[in-house]
């Protein structure tokens, strides 16, 4: 299946915080669109299509708000689509735009979105409403409780402790200090995490991401446009997404083909993306991983799914600093999703942060010699997994054989 090379030629993100009192939802999305277009050096006339990244709209409170945003993100008169895959939305939106360009249908595509998760105080109520009314809705499932269930199972399988998860939070908040866009940041200790109020075992409050508002955007183009516009693009060398049944109970126990607590859909998606990108030894070839990790317990199964170590090994390597900025793979140099979670664009922020590392414009958080970076997104009942490989070279990559 021959296809066109696809490159990130511009990125944009706003600061993320709880509330934006001085802007509406669509004005936030517009800010990110403008930032990414300016970064890429493209005008609205040069955009062939828009992909809008937005998850449930009940948080920001305007039903199907993509309609509201079309003209604000310079979408009128062009093909426009919204992508929604829960928390995986931003990763899936990027991949939809990738297909637009890789197929040769479009040359230059803008991916953009915004979210305002704290516009309602009822966020976890909204998240409970994603379960069916027949079998699962009545049992207080939401993103906190469903992932707490997975974490308890993971701990039982591998002996991971609450303190080991707490260390993930400490590292994330510290990394976020170098990211001017991050929502939560600062020097905290394992004790701070352990002493924060219990929410749902094993979670304390600090194990859980904030509800963030903000926007992000990416301009993707084919190779001809990239050569004209961008001296150092980030090539999209591999994309893959895997979906599981909504029923978490299908994914545990002796009859299951997948393992709920391992995020093994992410493993399948990662290795398909690696195959496309020519990655055969992820730990030596990938320098940066921007993970969709809204809870402290997400990093270890994700790191293992990405092949950076064996199952059940990530916590011990974390204890030794192996996932620090100077470790074997830098995990979440931006501070990641634990520090910033504007759900409808979080997966896109992961791509922005990973692409910026490859493009050499990650600012204070820039790491040396980044040739390959991976960005993930996870959504639904830990059900949608999207993995995107970004690289500084496309010579032997970006072609599905």
């Amino acid at each position: 299946m021959a296809k066109n090379t696809v490159a990130v030629i511009g990125t944009g993100q706003t600061k993320f915080k709880t509330h934006y009192a001085d802007k509406t939802y669509v004005e936030l999305a517009q800010d990110a669109a403008k930032l990414a277009m300016d970064d890429a050096g493209v005008t609205p006339d040069e955009l062939d299509a828009i992909v809008f990244s937005m998850a449930p709209t009940q948080f920001m409170g305007v039903n199907d708000c993509d309609r509201w945003a079309t003209s604000h993100v310079w979408g009128t008169g062009k093909p426009f689509m919204r992508i929604h895959a829960g928390g995986a939305t931003g990763g899936s939106a990027l991949q939809a735009a990738y297909v637009h360009v890789a197929s040769g249908v479009h040359r230059t595509v803008l991916v953009v979105g915004a979210d305002r998760v704290a516009e309602t105080p009822d966020a976890q109520h909204v998240l409970n409403l994603i379960w069916d009314r027949f079998y699962e809705h009545d049992f207080a499932l939401n993103t906190v409780t469903m992932t707490a269930l997975a974490a308890q199972r993971y701990m039982s399988r591998y002996g991971t402790t609450e303190e080991q998860f707490a260390q993930v939070v400490v590292r994330a908040r510290k990394n976020a200090m170098g990211n001017p866009y991050a929502h939560l940041k600062g020097e905290i200790t394992v004790d701070d995490v352990m002493n924060s109020p219990r929410v749902a075992y094993p979670y304390k409050r600090f194990d859980i991401c904030p509800r963030s508002s903000g926007a992000a955007a990416v301009v993707l183009s084919n190779l001809d446009v990239a050569k004209e516009k961008c001296a150092r693009p980030a090539f999209v060398n591999g994309v893959s997404a895997i979906t599981h049944s909504v029923f978490m109970g299908d994914r545990m126990g002796v009859f299951s083909e997948t393992e709920f607590s391992d995020h093994d859909g992410e493993h399948i998606a990662a290795y398909e993306a690696y195959r496309q990108a020519g990655i055969t030894d992820p730990t030596s070839q990938i320098q940066v991983a921007e993970l969709y990790d809204p809870f402290s317990t997400f990093q270890f199964p994700s790191i293992e799914s990405l092949g950076f170590c064996g199952r059940g090994r990530a916590a011990a390597i974390s204890d030794e600093g192996g996932w620090d900025l100077d470790g074997q793979v830098a995990i979440g140099p931006s501070g990641g999703t634990l520090c910033t979670n504007p759900i409808g664009v979080t997966g896109l922020v992961r791509v922005v942060d990973a692409a910026n590392q490859v493009m050499g414009k990650a600012g204070q958080n820039q790491l040396p010699n980044v040739h390959n970076a991976v960005a993930t997104a996870v959504g639904g009942s830990t059900q949608f997994f999207a993995v995107t490989m970004l690289g500084d070279d496309h010579a032997t990559r970006g072609r599905v054989q």
Binding site: D22, Q124, H125, F134, L149, V199, A200, Y201, D250
Partner: protein, 153 residues
Amino acid sequence: MSTAIDDNVIHGEWHVRYNYSVGKVAGQFFDGLKQKRILASHCAASGIAYLPPRAYCERAFEPCDGWVEAGHQGVIEAATIVTAQFEHLPPPPYAIAYVRLDNVSTALVNFVRGMELSDVPAAAARLKPGTKVKVVFKDTPEGRITDFHYELA
């Protein structure tokens, strides 16, 4: 009158009502609950017994062609103890578990009741995967998933 930007919000609420059609498969499951029976749909081709019940076996790509009755005992596959109040959700503390009941291939979520939950790590230790639990029905089931809960066996 001037209003600080920070104070200038417009309040809104959504009030939307629904009537969800149950359908045949869930209908049969709910009828079973009225008789204190938990019915799992079964696929002869794959041998899988599903809870929640399905019309179609996703593994064998065949219709589920029978029903098996789940045992009233099972094992925990995953559990958590909730100690924070979420909007419109039950008052804490409460325990939730996915349990694989006897004769069934998949796990079904419900509350675990009748436990002391004040010491959360200690309670979590009592709910480890592999722990045996039993099903406890209401005295007068109504044909709803909330007709039963789990308790430690």
